[in-house]
């Protein structure tokens, strides 16, 4: 009976997935056109939250305790409220004015610099294409827990599934499937949070019990307080990197292109905040309280799977696995779409046709599927650095255009190149854990997040590039309604 239910659940999931992919069939593959507020909000959250955020950061919440709620609060207020309050509508207005089809085109056309479009496309295709390998590997490993197929085959299976869905449905199909996956993530997380709270006797009782546990090296002020020294700094840097670098991730910028109107924001914003609060707030709160149930675990990545196996009945466990697979697939489809449009349209500077789109899909499947199979240092480095590098490269030109109404081809290109070089250089030379020959610039530099260094470099690059004023002819006047 249980097996039948499980099979029905998975078949229904992929049937709905296929149906929603087909909704985008007759649309432009690169642009989605406007979508409803529910789809917009759910797609934003589903793209934002990957399995890494739920499983990996859940493991961190077990180790660091309730201080991980700072990350959740940052994601909700800086990563969502501030984005919809200040950035989303100006982005949509600029996109419409410039007829931009991708985030790289938005910044290149906005600043009057075709070289900027190509540079960003190259960075996004390379870093997001390889980062997709980590995301599809996460989904494949989760599926390997319940399917009698080798992980290697599942990696190719997931890569092809994501590639085919992006090919058939384009961006509109991606947004609809993400919305469905957002709902599944929400249901799975509510089940887990409910089970944890029931086990520890309620949220308030759990918090009091957690605060009485003895401190550890990571939670050196206890599990209900912000750690001091480098551990506290790590949490603060996690808040900033996950909540501010997200502003300029191309897959997030692209979500604003689907806004139907300014009035839609009045509903999109609270819905996205509500879902994100339940998802990440719930995940980190439950994972922190899980220390009362699982005092020690072998690896942080084992926390959520162990918790789920211990607390949830078989059917709910399947739902939770679906939620994690959904988190991976939604992020993977978004990243694939950016990598493919970079390869098929932005790099050539020509509007892509179906053949170019297919070529981009095949290349992205081969790169991400191939990279997921190997355990190379370079692949690991590209996966680790992708979020920060993309943010440090694009954030300053993006904010200058959308918030500052400043357009300057040379400044934007210099800013992007210096942001990219300083952020990646910091990872390779100075940052603890990724520096090739060990951190070269001392302990403080080794703890400084590369995103901040890249951002400072990018800002310096903008100032350097704008020493000579931009020609008036390059400016486009835009009044944000």
């Amino acid at each position: 009976m249980n097996n039948l239910l499980t099979i029905t659940l998975w078949v229904a999931y992929f049937a709905v997935f296929a149906l929603l992919v087909r909704k985008g069939r007759n649309h432009d593959a690169v642009l989605s056109g406007p979508v409803g507020f529910g789809v917009q909000a759910l797609a934003y959250v589903a793209t934002y939250i990957s399995a890494v955020a739920l499983v990996g950061f859940g493991g961190l919440a077990h180790a660091y305790g309730l201080q991980m709620l700072l990350v959740a609060a940052g994601n909700v207020w800086l990563g969502t409220w501030a984005v919809y309050r200040f950035l989303a509508w100006p982005t949509r207005c600029w996109q419409e004015k410039l007829h931009a089809r991708t985030p790289s085109q938005l910044l290149g056309l906005g600043h009057g610099s075709p070289a900027l479009t190509r540079f960003l496309a190259l960075v996004f295709a390379l870093f997001l294409g390889v980062y997709a390998s980590a995301v599809i590997k996460g989904a494949a490993l989760m599926l390997a827990e319940i399917l009698p197929v080798s992980p290697s085959m599942l990696i190719w299976g997931v890569a092809v599934l994501v590639g085919v869905s992006v090919y058939v449905g384009g961006l509109r199909g991606v947004l609809y499937t993400e919305a469905m996956q957002g709902v599944v993530m929400l249901v799975g997380m509510v089940l887990l949070v409910g089970a944890v709270l029931a086990k520890v006797g309620g949220p308030l009782e759990g918090m009091v019990a957690l605060s009485q546990l003895p401190p550890t090296p990571q939670a050196d002020n206890g599990f209900a307080a912000l750690s001091s020294g480098s551990q506290g700094l790590f949490i603060i840097s996690l808040v900033m990197v996950t909540s501010v670098a997200v502003w300029a991730q191309p897959q997030m910028i692209q979500r604003h292109f689907a806004l139907a109107g300014k009035d839609q924001l009045k509903r999109v914003t609270p819905l996205a905040m509500f879902i994100l609060t339940v998802l990440v707030g719930g995940a980190y709160f439950a994972a922190a309280l899980s220390r009362l149930i699982l005092p020690e675990v072998a690896s942080p990545d084992d926390v959520m799977p162990t918790l789920v196996r211990q607390l949830l009945p078989a059917f709910a466990l399947q739902l939770f696995v679906l939620a994690i697979v959904s988190a991976s697939l939604s992020t993977a489809t978004a990243i694939y779409h950016i990598a493919v449009s970079s390869l098929s349209e932005d790099l050539s500077g020509l509007r892509g046709n179906r053949l170019a789109w297919l070529g981009g899909i095949v290349a992205t499947i081969l790169v991400s599927g191939g990279c997921a199979q190997i355990k190379g240092q370079l692949v690991a480095l590209l996966c680790t650095t992708s979020w920060s590098v993309a943010g440090a490269t694009a954030l300053v030109p993006y904010l200058m255009l959308t918030l500052g109404n400043r357009q300057h081809a040379r400044a934007a290109l210099t800013s992007a190149v210096i942001g990219f070089v300083t952020c990646l250089g910091w990872y390779l030379l100075a940052y603890k854990g990724t520096a090739i020959a060990g951190p070269l610039f001392g302990d403080i530099a080794a703890m400084t997040p590369p995103f901040f260094v890249g951002l400072a470099g990018s800002l310096g690059g903008w100032m350097l590039g704008s020493l000579r004023p931009a020609p008036d002819a390059a400016r486009t006047v835009l009044r944000i309604r």
């Binding site: 309730l66 700072l70 609060a73 009782e205 009091v208 605060s211 209900a224 609060t277």
Partner: protein, 41 residues
Amino acid sequence: MSAFTCLDLPVALALSTLLLSFGLSAFTLLRAVLVKESRHE
């Protein structure tokens, strides 16, 4: 011991802002739905 007093200030602030976001967004959504329904009537 009250649950909130066992938290230090940054964690208490984070939890408060999350609760605020939960309540505020639920209220805003509910109000939007009710306003729409009353317009239909």
